[in-house]
Symmetry: C2
Amino acid sequence: MQLKNIFIIGAGNVGSHLAVALAEVVNIVGVYSLNQNSAKELSKELNVPFVSDTSSIPACDLVLVCVNDNSVLEVVKQIPSTFKIAYTSGSIELSSLPEIENIGVFYPLQTFSKSKELNLKEVPFFIEGSNEEFVSELIELASLISLNVSKANSIERKKMHLAAVFVNNFSNHLAFLAKEYLDENNLNWEYLKPLMIETVNKLSEVSPYEGQTGPARRNDTKVIESHLSELSGTTKEIYQVLSTSIINTYQKKND
Amino acid sequence: MQLKNIFIIGAGNVGSHLAVALAEVVNIVGVYSLNQNSAKELSKELNVPFVSDTSSIPACDLVLVCVNDNSVLEVVKQIPSTFKIAYTSGSIELSSLPEIENIGVFYPLQTFSKSKELNLKEVPFFIEGSNEEFVSELIELASLISLNVSKANSIERKKMHLAAVFVNNFSNHLAFLAKEYLDENNLNWEYLKPLMIETVNKLSEVSPYEGQTGPARRNDTKVIESHLSELSGTTKEIYQVLSTSIINTYQKKND
């Protein structure tokens, strides 16, 4: 085990979850975050020191950069290039970062919220690195917290991230819109939960193509029109564009 | 128990699931479907007779009409009005049907596919009826197969159905688009499954408003632009309209 002592940068959703999970299997030597309050909280939770700037990173085997995509480059540039560095972003290409000796990617394909506990065992981790030895070390590290670790190059990782945006970010927003609509109508959105669970469970047995149901699947324009008349603004636009896409998907097949 | 002998009309996704579940607790006296092959299959599975037209419905306590929304009126009109009738549609208002003595709604808020087994215990059933006694009988019947039975009027039911379209039909279609995109790029969509499961699990602890993550949540225009450049056609349009909606949702809050 090469990467035994790890310094964490970023104490947001991803950083705090990874730090907690890694603290079970390796030694977290400290944390730093642009947001000092988050860093203090996390350092307290892990009982490790926090440092107030990147020039004070203590000796360690890996600096794990868990910051937002648009801060990765800036943060990596601040870290002395003698450190081994990995970052957790889905969309940043490795080639867009400084060419230091040991730089890599440690990308968990998952949605993290601080307030939601999470078991990382089944979370896919995608690993990339500036050299094979470092890749092996990162794979070894990821395998301590997950059973689902793969190599992926920057292009593959970016495409996985894009697909993840559809099934997580967008699906979650649809749940938000559904809840907002039910709230406005004084109806209890708890009723939707068994349906949401089954929507996902079903995909373990049937493909999303095969599992599609509902008015757009049947091209039931009467129900679709009636729903559209209930909606307005962006929610209506979303209903329309998704219904049209479903109708076209199955019409193509019928032609 | 009043509704002991039940005749099923419709042997599609909803009809076949309800028939199988009801057969465990009441007596299914026969099935009829516009699609004779489906009716034959279901009658064989349940070991009950199928009839070839609605004028041959045998004596029973309830005719349960499990047909598509746009066939409900036509089918109900064909059934002698001496029968007690209930239908399973989310969007058809009770007042739009003939005023017979005992007519009601037996609506399960769930997605049904023939090829996917399903436990109905947690599925919400929404009940409505032309008179209180019949409502009570339908509630009693639904309670034999589900622990989540409520009264709902036609307006409430329609709104629940509309919300369900967002969290099921549209979410499933997003999964289809994500899978299509990964297939085209020779990437394994199995990697998305833990994420999809967590997307729903998370909602048991945090609201969808609070649980939102991703580039649009952070208004990360660089990543959004990069994703859009990867996409085309309807998929691109869907990415755009959903990202804009997420950005606006959180911008509103910041104002």
